[in-house]
């Protein structure tokens, strides 16, 4: 049976992996291709690059990183961040990305999902949803989680599926950076609504948080960034913890 996936995420700015939140106090961690390669050898089931470059040069550099990753990394990888048009999707897929993630641009223009999916297949289109809890439910947030679109996240997840997304990368703005575990309520609400795989993101602070989200929801994959960086925890520690708690995973 298909296994639960453990996905490290690398934030890339102007060609370097960085660590830090809300674009302040960013610290360079290393070379994206080297880090992706190390994670894949350590047992990562997939890699996600999030390009947070602010410049066109930075985004062009990302295309070179994608090319080099395709030649050096032997697990699937997704690239998101700054994807606004079908030309951006085309450029990244042609460079060798397995999947492309889109976020704010899809909220502004849902047809971007439909066009990309029709042209390249649902399997390579990932829609990232950043959600935040309000009194009337979860809202879709855009622009790095800072702007309230007013759109209901559950309704948006349905739309995204219907437009042809192959996967949803769901980040809880509430738990992101808090390191106290994934947002179980949000994850469950979205997973139980759609018939496409969902990746849970935001809030992972220790290995135990992975089995927790897999036990309490039917989510397909879970993502973390900081806990894997600077060897705080290894992929193997996370997978061992999952195995111990009976979660079906791929041996690291």
């Amino acid at each position: 049976m298909i296994v639960k996936r453990i996905i490290p995420c690398l934030d890339v700015k102007e060609g370097k992996v960085v660590k830090g939140t809300n674009f302040v106090g960013l610290r360079e961690l290393g070379d994206p291709v080297e880090m992706a390669s190390a994670y894949s050898k350590a047992g990562a089931d997939e890699i996600i690059f999030l390009d947070i470059s602010a410049t066109n040069e930075g985004r062009q550099t990302m295309v070179d990183i994608v090319k080099s990753t395709a030649e050096n990394v032997f697990v699937p990888f997704t690239v998101g961040g700054g994807v606004r048009t079908i030309d951006d999707v085309t450029r990244l897929l042609k460079a060798g990305a397995d999947k492309v993630g889109m976020n704010s641009a899809a909220v502004a223009n849902p047809e971007l999902i439909a066009e990309s999916s029709a042209r390249f297949g649902a399997q390579c289109i990932v829609v990232a949803i950043d959600a935040k809890r309000f009194d009337d439910g979860w809202h879709v947030m855009t622009h790095g989680g800072s702007k309230d679109s007013g759109i209901d996240a559950i309704e948006w997840a349905k739309t995204v599926e219907q437009k042809g997304a192959g996967e949803i990368l769901l980040t809880s703005v509430d738990t992101d950076g808090v390191k106290d575990g994934f947002d179980i309520a949000l994850t469950k609400a979205i997973v139980d609504t759609v018939r496409i795989p969902v990746i849970a993101s935001g809030g992972c602070g220790k290995p135990e948080h992975f089995p927790e989200v897999f036990e309490k929801t039917d989510v397909s994959a879970a993502l973390a960034a900081s806990i894997f960086h600077e060897n705080t925890f290894s992929i193997k520690e996370v997978k061992d913890r999952c195995t111990l708690q009976g979660v079906n995973i791929r041996e690291a």
């Binding site: 298909i2 296994v3 395709a70 060798g96 399997q123 496409i196």
Partner: protein
């Protein structure tokens, strides 16, 4: 020299790198002369069955591929594996290369489609070269599956039903998953193919 058929269906960089890593020289080509000179032919592919059949026909590759598959080791990967069969129903009915009897149909499963992710291999008895990969996980991305006779089945995977993962008839092999995206296990399986088929 391994020839990878480059016919406009998906990125072939990763497939190419995987073989280079094993120490082989690789050429990406849609030229029949190059294919005739190659030691092995690899048919990759991502996309729809019908679109792929059209690309192959327009390049005049159908007959040469059918002929060369009888002469030298031939491996279809993902959509390339599906094209080995007689007939496919994705995007309408179209004829495949008919190198292995069977059809390509939508996966029957109660689970989510596409079938995306890492799933375990069940190697059939009688294929010792692939025994080391029993229960190992490999990376799948597909919504259609081959329906064929048990005699052509080398390995399957379980996703609500048994899906053919590796198939073989004579010198022709097909791999449904992406060995080039399946870490060390995937590279090992390509190596097993190269050593097994002469």
């Amino acid at each position: 020299m391994i020839a990878i058929v480059d016919y406009g269906m998906g990125n072939v960089a990763s497939v190419s790198t995987a073989f280079k890593r094993l120490g082989y020289e690789v050429v990406l080509t849609d030229n029949v002369g190059e294919l005739e000179k190659a030691s092995h032919i690899i048919l990759p592919g991502v996309g729809s069955f019908q679109a792929a059949v059209k690309e192959i026909s327009e390049r005049g590759l159908k007959e040469p591929l059918q002929r060369l598959a009888k002469e030298k080791p031939f491996l279809g990967i993902c959509l390339g594996m599906q094209l080995l069969f007689t007939e496919g129903y994705e995007g309408g009915t179209s004829q495949g290369l008919n190198l292995i009897p069977g059809t390509v149909e939508k996966i029957k499963t109660p689970y989510l489609l596409p079938h995306i992710g890492w799933n375990g291999l069940h190697i059939q008895p009688g294929h010792p070269a692939f025994d080391p990969f029993q229960d190992k996980h490999v990376y799948f991305v597909h919504s259609f599956e081959a329906r064929t006779e048990k005699e052509y089945l080398v390995a399957s995977t379980e996703y609500g039903s048994d899906i053919p993962a590796i198939v073989q008839k004579d010198k022709v092999y097909g791999i449904q998953f992406h060995p080039e995206k399946s870490g060390e296990v995937g590279v090992g399986i390509l190596k097993a193919f190269l050593q097994e088929v002469k």
